[in-house]
């Protein structure tokens, strides 16, 4: 009577771990990533992250920049030197963006 009960409990635990590894990672462990704005470029220009990652742009230029999503998903205020802007991506997809005042500067966040 005693031994089978323990085995059952262990079995259930194992099933839970195997069936929900992605869910556990995406919902309970938010990630962070950084994009450097330097010399009028975004680095990296294409950044791949997991769902629920907060991406922070840091402006290392002497000139302000504005982070603007092509599709209107996000938009920062003007970032002066060393200012930061963060956005948390909760849905998978490709998010192209550019600098609102130097539109030749383009980048994208790929969320998986």
């Amino acid at each position: 009577m005693f031994v089978p009960a323990v085995m059952t409990a262990i079995g259930l635990t194992v099933v839970v771990l195997i069936s929900n590894p992605d869910k556990a990672r995406s919902e309970t462990k938010p990630q962070a990533a950084e994009v450097r704005v330097d010399n009028f470029t975004f680095g990296p220009q294409s950044l791949t992250v997991l769902v629920n990652t907060t991406v922070t742009w840091v402006n290392r230029d002497d000139i302000p920049h504005v982070i603007v999503s092509d599709e209107g998903v996000f938009r920062s205020n003007a970032l002066d030197t060393d200012d930061k802007y963060s956005f948390t991506f909760t849905k998978a997809g490709i998010y192209p963006y550019f600098c609102g005042i130097h539109p030749k500067m383009v980048g994208k966040i790929v969320v998986q």
Binding site: N77, A78, Y97, P103
Partner: protein, 327 residues
Amino acid sequence: MSRNNLTEANDPTLIQHDHHHDGIDRRGFLKCMAWAGAGTLCVVEGGVLKSYALGHHSKASAVAKGQLSFVQISDSHMGFSKPANPDVIATLKAAVDKINGLPEPPAFILHTGDVSHLAKPEEFDNVDQILKAASAKDIFFVPGEHDMLNDDGKSFLDRYGRGTQGHGWYSFDKNGVHFIGLVNVINLKAGGLGTLGPEQLEWLKNDVRHLKQSTPIIVFAHIPLWSVYPEWGWGTDDSAQALSYLKKFGSVTVLNGHIHQTMQKVEGNVTFHTACSTAFPQPAPGKADSPGPMKVPAEQLRSVLGISDVNYVQGKHALAIVDSSLA
């Protein structure tokens, strides 16, 4: 910017162009750049532009005594405080001193944008306070991208755009010259250049429709209306359409800022000119990794900042543009 350009700027033969042969098609263009204290005087007569280095312009100064004289200043970037120029207040004051020292007091001032660095009210306040000391009391503004940063330009337009159309475009007449202030710094698209947009283009078309072709036209806008260097965003996507509405006019002059250095070009009936910044210089096109502020030794800073003094001689369709440094 290389020292070679100084030589170019000093050679008036390099930017002479007879416009009667080609309409508006692009052809070899020539430019000059004022550098290291060498101001450039540009005289336009019937579409032909000649430039003279300051100090060698006795011929041109006779022309420069026109019936309308005004000054263009640009890119004061009030609020900027980085090493390229930690004191933009002092250099704007120096620009005002330069204006007040002109032999012919200007009728008014054109500011071609980037009045402020971050569009903050206190930055605009500082500029207003400094410009109050200028001999010319009328100042006409168009916004730069820095002036329209956070609120779709509301704080700029509330202050400088009263009575204007759309996002701040307008026109006015002085001494028979038709002035057109355009805005090409809003609704910018990813990967693109400056933009005027359909609404403004339509307005421009109607604004000039009934003008006589002999009317001299002066267009002023922040970002150059010609392709100075698209790789750095130094151009305007739909400027060709705007210029097509100005084809019929015998004399069109386009005054821009944004690139923080002087440059001229003649294309058909149109003469393009960009002004220096009063705040900090930027590199010549492609001469640096990016168009960020160019650091020069402190003692040289004022030689790469400046103002442009423009004279119009009525009846001769002549414009003389004198770029002088703050040094």
